[in-house]
């Protein structure tokens, strides 16, 4: 079995090397020459709006999709020429809730381990995962009998069953409850501390901001940015000011062009730090004789950066919550 805690002496620095990936579906160019690296031991975020090409890229990395051009290597092993080694080093949690209805949970995990060449020596690890993912009580249950959340846990266990040093989580928390999120992130953080490289795609950008040390943003099939998270957050030097004015008061015309929205009866102003010092805003309000009821400031978060770069909210339309 591959070890998550024993780095290979001659292993390359990159967990994933993605070079010039192009993929076209008819007239749609899903990926337009995507290149970036994921370093060993990183917790890496792969973000982008719906249709940006994230799932196509993950499909190419995992062998589900054939790229038209370009190459991917997992810890230096090409995913086409040396696919057996590359796949043994990789675990992927698919986005869709798919399962085999013929088997019970423990049997399914043992079968999955067998595909990767792991025999009975993997069984204690399977039992440990069942415990950690709070599936032990369901180990003898048929997949058909599990709730959606439980099935999601099994998917995660299936991806980790061969202890891959590189793990890709394709929206693992989509539609799951808070408890599972907490369990999953505690488990993944443990694996990450032991040396596992984790690549995460998610619509919950607060998760990415909290967990990922570096982030790539894909937009319309191209890489819009690959940067450390703090650098990405500092990329756009602005802040938000939320002003609740006294009853009947109107915002001066000079400040109206800075308004990005209204929340709960308060105006939200987007201020570029260099051009719009907060003091100047208050001066303008004082000069116009406008009384203020409440004031809040907020630094831009990943959601703001994401919208700025892609023009989209990160959340799917059905649950959209643009700021």
């Amino acid at each position: 079995m591959s070890s998550i805690s024993a780095p290979h002496a001659a292993a390359p620095a990159s967990a994933l090397e993605i070079r010039g990936i192009r993929k076209r579906y008819g007239s749609l160019e899903a990926l337009r020459g995507v290149s970036f690296d994921v370093r060993r031991g990183e917790f890496f975020g792969l973000l982008g709006p719906n249709g940006a090409g994230k799932s196509t890229l993950i499909g190419i990395i995992s062998g589900l999709v054939q790229a038209d051009e370009g190459s991917v290597a997992v810890l230096g092993h090409d995913t086409v020429r040396d696919f057996r080694t590359a796949r043994r080093l990789l675990g992927v949690v698919p986005q869709e809730l798919v399962f085999d209805p013929f088997f019970k949970v423990r049997d399914l995990l043992r079968i999955q381990a067998g595909y990767y060449g792991c025999g009975k020596e993997s069984w204690p690890w399977i039992d440990e995962m069942l415990e950690r993912l709070e599936l032990a009580g369901k180990a003898g249950s048929s997949m058909r009998a599990l709730s959606g959340g439980m099935k999601r846990r099994v998917l995660i266990a299936q991806a980790l069953v061969h202890k891959p040093p590189v793990v890709i989580l394709d929206e693992p928390t989509a539609g799951v409850d808070v408890e599972l999120r907490r369990t999953l992130w505690a488990f993944m953080s443990d694996l990450h501390r032991q040396g596992t490289t984790v690549v995460l795609t998610t619509h919950y950008l607060e998760e990415a901001q909290e967990l990922c040390s570096r982030i790539a943003i894909l937009d319309r099939g191209s890489v819009a940015a690959v940067e450390p998270t703090p650098q990405l957050l500092a990329r756009h030097p602005y802040r938000f000011l939320r002003l609740k004015l006294a009853d009947g008061a109107q915002l001066p015309a000079a400040l109206r062009e800075l308004v990005t929205g209204e929340v709960g009866g308060a105006y939200e102003l987007k201020l570029e730090t260099a051009r719009h010092p907060i003091g100047a805003v208050f001066d303008a309000l004082r000069t116009a004789g406008v009384a203020i009821e409440d004031v809040q400031t907020r630094e831009p978060d990943l959601e703001d950066i994401f919208i700025e770069m892609t023009g989209h909210t990160a959340k799917p339309a059905a649950t959209g919550a643009a700021k």
Partner: protein, 255 residues
């Protein structure tokens, strides 16, 4: 065992477990269907002149029924497994695993052959009280069995790879497998057919499977055994080449 061998053995075991978990549907049901055919045709055709010297109609019928059931079950095993995995979406776990085209091919085909061995054995056992079949050429019998079950298992894989819904498999079964297996000399000797149908039967690969299998029991057949072996080997070779090409290129499997 090497990791690759463990991977292959696991896929084979999983495919056997899949049909084993629904044994009533995958083994018992086809045996009962075949027995009903035997009951009806043996009664209806009783008293007719022997097809081959010293071989009564019921004896003649049993090997044909066994082979027809093998043909249908080998096809059903691989086609339903692949189609179901594609439709349920769980084929991704296999596609992401470090298993090569030959491992897929071998595991699916052998599992289907295992199912066919169970079905054929069950049929021969339940007909034993009524029909005592001789075994004239055991090697030819085994070769015809393996080639036939193998060919149809491969054909089932091809259909499973092409199919996007169960309707496609049903169409393949209803318009190709069932007619060809019924028109292959299961219930009669092709020598009893008019010239046009006699000639047409010789273009049906299932005819050679059944005829060669029958030769293994009785030492008599409509065509020489070498011809049946040659046709069946050729048919297996063509099907295997097409199937392996699909697996290697990812045809209809990779987006």
């Amino acid at each position: 065992m090497t990791p690759d061998q463990i991977g292959f053995a696991t896929l084979l075991k999983k495919e056997v477990m899949r049909f084993w978990s629904v044994l009533g549907q995958t083994v018992t049901a086809p045996v009962i269907t075949a027995l009903l055919y035997l009951l009806v045709f043996a009664q209806a055709m009783q008293g007719r002149a022997p097809v081959y010297p010293g071989v009564g109609y019921t004896e003649f019928l049993v090997p044909g029924l066994v082979m027809m059931t093998v043909i249908q079950n080998a096809f059903a095993n691989t086609s339903s497994s692949l189609t179901q995995s594609k439709i349920m979406g769980n084929l991704v776990f296999l596609q992401m695993a470090p298993l090569g085209p030959l491992q897929w091919f071998g595991a699916y085909i052998i599992a289907a052959i295992v199912r066919c061995i169970l079905v054929a054995t069950a049929m021969l056992l339940v007909t034993w009280p009524f029909v005592h079949l001789p075994v004239h050429a055991p090697l030819a019998l085994a070769a015809m069995f393996l080639l036939s079950a193998g060919s149809l298992a491969v054909l089932g894989m091809i259909a499973g790879i092409i199919a996007e819904k169960f309707d496609h498999i049903a169409a393949f079964t209803n318009f190709f497998i069932t007619p060809l297996s019924f028109l292959s000399g299961v219930f009669y000797s092709v020598h009893a057919l008019p010239p046009l149908w006699f000639a047409a039967s010789h273009l049906n690969p299932f005819f050679y499977m059944i005829d060669g299998f029958r030769y293994g029991f009785f030492g008599h057949a409509d065509v020489p055994i070498w011809q049946s072996l040659l046709w069946s080997t050729g048919f297996f070779g063509v099907c295997a080449a097409v199937c392996l090409w699909m697996l290697v290129t990812g045809y209809k499997l990779k987006r």
